[in-house]
């Protein structure tokens, strides 16, 4: 529509050259549509993609590089023993409905998230909080049961954004936050619109308005970008098409890293995967580079454990599981499966899973493991694999930042139950000293790598295709977010 107006205007004054009008709106496409608009209640990442930093803000936030910076809290003090955080809130902040954002709202948001009946998808973030006290309207004190080196990081998650009791009832369909953009419209199945918040407490964004569109089909995504229907596509689903965009001066391609550890999820409680030798055999059967080249057309970094390679605490453990089919066959024989076995491989929709699944099936077949491939839609995958744990193998990318803690939860869908690891995570949570934390994280990475809990494949890369004039988009995805605060058009 905008294109059409511009065309009509140009034609009316008899000029076909691009008009000098400054562009102040953008159409951004992402793959998945959010199921609702409540980041504090829903687990879907698409909610954060649309709303994080745009509509909702937390006490702290991630910046484009994944560092934790100030959010609604302008400064904070941590008590000597590391258990009391005193946050000083920004002054003059209002929600989009005009109500004031103050310490009461922070208390409300944190208490709501950690309540018994809370539906927050990441309740673990708030688990250590014992008390939230309002000191004065701009000061709030959070008391923890023990020191937590991750607390400021936890408060930066999309699940920990500050909401208001006045607008909480309709948050799923009408999100009211404190961010630089206000929610204006959501046409389900098509688009979601945001408009600049004139009363924003921080620096005003360059864009007047933004439209999110949801295009999951790779072919449709390619067509939409090529036809310039969208100005930017965050998380472009077809890596094979990127060279074409790179060669086209109309577009720019940004390839960044994500927090997505793509793993061959293994059901650790289902025989024969309860046998470590079998899991190790699977790990040696996998040729990571073939998967990265075949499924992702070269985008992605091999990983040997469940940790992001760009994180300073990452330890390269690829040597634990090099591609070695002979070793895999020997291990299978040692485990009593000399003739191999048959298992299920359940794949969600993204191409890393569907294509990667075919490649892994071929690699496993090579060592004698037959897989029955089932392609599932996301809803089915959540039901069958994630909730009912009815699977042998699956492929999925775990995109939450710093999520090695999931291995301490024996009820998590891959059902890894190791008391040593759980004790290590307890210790990690109680450690605030950065060096001590790095040591513990290194130990944790080694334990799961040497236990061959899952097949560790690669760190998912994210590709953004944008029109050449768009600037300020995040290259990396330290959390699921399309932060439009700093986005503008080049003159």
């Amino acid at each position: 529509m905008y294109q059409f107006k511009r065309l009509a205007a140009s034609a009316a004054i008899g000029l076909w050259a691009t008009t000098a009008l400054a562009q102040d709106s953008i159409t951004v496409a992402i793959q998945l549509e959010p199921p609702n608009l409540d980041p504090t209640g829903g687990a879907a990442q698409a909610i954060d993609s649309v709303l994080y930093a745009n509509v909702f803000e937390g006490l702290t936030r991630f910046d484009a590089d994944g560092a934790i910076i100030r959010g609604l809290a302008q400064s904070w003090e941590i008590s000597e023993d590391g258990t009391v955080y005193t946050f000083n809130l920004a002054a003059g902040v209002t929600f989009h409905d005009g109500t004031t954002m103050d310490a009461e709202d922070v208390k409300f948001s944190l208490d709501r998230a950690r309540a018994e009946d809370s539906t927050n998808a990441q309740k673990g973030l708030f688990a250590g909080i014992t008390d939230v006290t309002v000191v004065d309207p701009l000061t709030v004190q959070v008391t923890l049961d023990q020191p937590n080196g991750n607390f400021l990081f936890n408060m930066a998650w999309g699940d920990a954004v500050i909401v208001a009791p006045e607008s909480i009832a309709d948050i799923a369909s009408n999100p009211i936050g404190t961010g630089p953009f206000t929610f204006t419209d959501w046409v389900q199945g098509d688009r979601l619109e945001l408009t600049r918040n004139p009363d924003y407490w921080g620096p005003a964004p360059a864009l007047e308005s933004a439209t999110f569109r949801f295009i999951s089909d790779p072919t449709a995504a390619f067509a939409a970008v090529m036809a310039e229907d969208v100005d930017a596509f965050i998380g472009f689903p077809a890596p094979e098409n990127l060279p074409q965009f790179e060669a086209d001066p109309r577009f720019q391609v940004l390839v960044g890293n994500t927090e997505g550890e793509t793993i061959l999820s293994t059901n650790n409680k289902m025989p024969p995967f309860d046998n470590k030798l079998v899991r190790q055999a699977v790990a040696h059967a996998i040729d990571r580079q073939a998967i990265i080249d075949g499924a992702m057309f070269g985008l992605g970094t091999p990983i040997g454990t469940h940790f992001a390679p760009h994180n300073p605490a990452y330890v390269d453990l690829l040597a634990n599981s090099p591609h070695d089919p002979d070793r895999a066959r020997a291990l299978l024989a040692e485990a009593g499966f000399a003739d191999g076995f048959t298992t299920t491989l359940k794949l969600p929709p993204p191409s890393y899973a569907r294509r990667g699944g075919e490649i892994i099936a071929a690699q496993l077949r090579d060592v004698g493991i037959e897989t029955e491939i089932t392609n599932l839609e996301w809803a089915q995958w959540i039901e069958e694999v994630f909730k009912n744990k009815d699977f042998g193998l699956s492929i999925v990318s775990h995109t939450e930042p710093m999520d090695i803690g999931i291995y301490a939860n024996p009820d998590y869908y891959f059902q890894y139950d190791n008391p040593d690891f759980q004790a290590l995570m307890e210790e990690l949570n109680a450690t605030t000293d950065p060096d001590g934390r790095d040591d513990l994280l290194a130990k944790a990475q080694a334990i799961i790598s040497e236990d061959y809990v899952n097949g560790y494949l690669f760190e998912l890369a994210v590709a953004t295709v944008a029109k050449a004039g768009v600037q300020g988009l995040w290259v990396n995805q330290p959390t699921a977010a399309v932060d439009l605060t700093g986005v503008s058009w080049a003159e």
Binding site: P218, E240, N241, Q244, G294, E358, I359, A362, T374, N375
Partner: protein, 271 residues
């Protein structure tokens, strides 16, 4: 013999031969992926190029022909095996409650869009080649039942049937010994047409991921896989696309040609 018949027969035989050959020989093993060798154009070491996993497309086409033909053949078999007896029965008991029941049952199946029901069946019972066969087969039943009844009804009025009845033959024997041989030509022609529709249906189901599952090769899934590659490696889509086109064209020409050739009235007119 018409030119259509010859062209159709040659095309159909060509694909049948490819499928038969795939049992003993294919240029490459399609289960072995060769990723560094992906998306090679046609004409090199691989006659029709390679796909996104470096598999030889010619080998995939041969194995895919096997899947398509097997699915379509069994589906048509199901349709004939159940549809023809039902049609004969309805014709023999013309006007009875049974006839009414069979034909209204057929109408019921006909009333549903076939592909939608096929999707439903594969969604409920899981996506596999076997379920695709069943789904396509079910929709072939009313086609053959109706055609059989329609062709058998006028035969029942003929004198030679009356003679058979006077001799004391049962309706079942008359249907089998006198009616069936007289409608065989019609069934062969319809079978060919249904066969081509079966190939299209298998390709459609596989294209949306509900047909044969990997690593079984299927033309429809080759097309689906090639979808995002069209602009960089057009041969990955063109080859399976043309395979489907030529096979279906061949079967349709064959069906048309057979009808002209087998239909006594037209044959007499031509002579």
């Amino acid at each position: 013999m018409s030119r259509n018949l010859i062209i159709g027969a040659l095309l159909s035989l060509f694909f049948l031969a490819l499928a038969a050959l795939s049992f003993v020989w294919t240029p490459n093993d399609i289960e072995a992926l060769d990723i560094p060798n992906k998306l090679q154009g046609p004409g090199g070491a691989n006659l029709l190029g390679t796909d996104h996993f470096g598999r030889d497309i010619l080998s995939m086409i041969m194995m895919g022909a096997r899947t398509s033909i097997a699915v379509a053949l069994v589906a048509v078999g199901i349709g004939m095996a159940l549809g023809i007896p039902l049609g004969l029965l309805a014709a023999a008991r013309h006007g009875s409650l049974l006839d009414e029941l069979i034909m209204r049952g057929n109408d019921l199946v006909f009333a549903f869009p076939s592909l939608v029901i096929a999707i439903l069946i594969t969604a409920v019972f899981g996506a596999s080649a076997v379920n695709a066969i069943i789904a396509i087969g079910i929709f072939n039943i009313p086609v053959f039942a109706r055609l059989t009844r329609g062709a058998a009804l006028p035969l029942w009025e003929r004198d030679f049937i009356l003679a058979a009845r006077v001799c004391g033959k049962s309706a079942a024997r008359i249907s089998a010994e006198h009616i069936l041989p007289n409608i065989t030509n019609l069934m062969i022609v319809q079978g060919t047409i249904q066969f081509s529709l079966g190939i299209l249906a298998e390709a459609a189901l596989s294209y949306i991921g509900l047909g044969a599952q990997p690593p079984t090769a299927s033309w429809g899934r080759m097309l689906a896989d090639a979808q995002t590659l069209v602009s960089i490696a057009p041969h990955t889509a063109l080859v399976p696309g043309f395979a489907i086109l030529l096979m279906v064209l061949g079967l349709n020409l064959l069906g048309d040609g057979l009808r002209d050739w087998l239909d006594p009235r037209i044959r007499v007119a031509r002579v």
